[in-house]
Symmetry: C2
């Protein structure tokens, strides 16, 4: 269990939005959404989730920890790949149900598919009907099979 | 109901991650996470949710539509405040459970509290124990009481 002492009870809307206490709104699964952007470029690298323990470890260590919903486990970003995220700044939003971390992404990329960012496909705008995605920055910057070789 | 014709059935992991079909993974409530960043600065303005209909309308119109979980209704960003978001580019992530829109934010801000961004407080890093948030870019750019005057 996470030491809950770093988290405050959620008070009034005014307190949550204008106060200085960290009072995250975890969802029914105990998770909060986290957006990681690259500090230099502003590019969104990934969207993932944190539970209280991942949030605490990220705050204390300055490195990104997440909670994997598929693996149902705490996950230090880069623990397998070495592609650690150093957190330059963490922010929380008005109703405290999302955090934004600006990171320095170590290694060639954040995405398990081998790209720098998970957002390597664009959705064309201004048209109705069936959508055909378009690759953008879709070249792989590393070989995921080699990086994750020893993992299932 | 949304016309589902713009959405494809989710196939294999390979198809979802490397294919060109839009096959979003909506959660149990029928929602997908959306991150809106300011096209010019790369600043994260807000994190919100879209249902299939909000996604379809955003794609077709090039303006941001969301689904409000608190109001349980479709919501055109700016419909009350006039602070419309023009979508410059939309991207979808590897497993298609999050979208990223780069927007031009019309008007003084995106946040219902009166700030440009919802992320106006920082979480200090590198310390254990109780957290005290710090305002960053916390000045209000508009008066929410005036802008939302006629709304509950």
């Amino acid at each position: 269990m996470a030491d809950p002492s770093f988290i405050s009870q959620r008070g009034s809307t005014e307190a949550v939005e204008e106060g200085l206490a960290l009072a995250p709104k975890f969802d029914a699964d105990g998770l909060i959404t986290c957006v990681a952007t690259e500090a230099g470029s502003g590019e969104v690298l990934m969207v993932a989730h944190m539970n209280a323990e991942a949030l605490r470890r990220t705050i204390e260590s300055g490195e990104a920890w997440y909670y994997s919903r598929s693996r149902k486990s705490l996950w230090r970003k880069g623990e397998t790949s070495g592609h650690v995220q150093r957190v330059v700044e963490m922010r929380i939003d008005c109703d405290q149900d999302a955090v934004w971390i600006k990171v320095e992404q170590l290694g060639p990329g954040a995405c398990h598919t081998g790209r720098r960012s998970c957002f390597y496909r664009a959705v064309p705008l201004g048209k109705a009907g069936a959508v055909t995605l378009e690759f953008r920055d879709g070249d792989k910057s590393f070989d995921p099979k080699a990086v994750y070789r020893d993992k299932a």
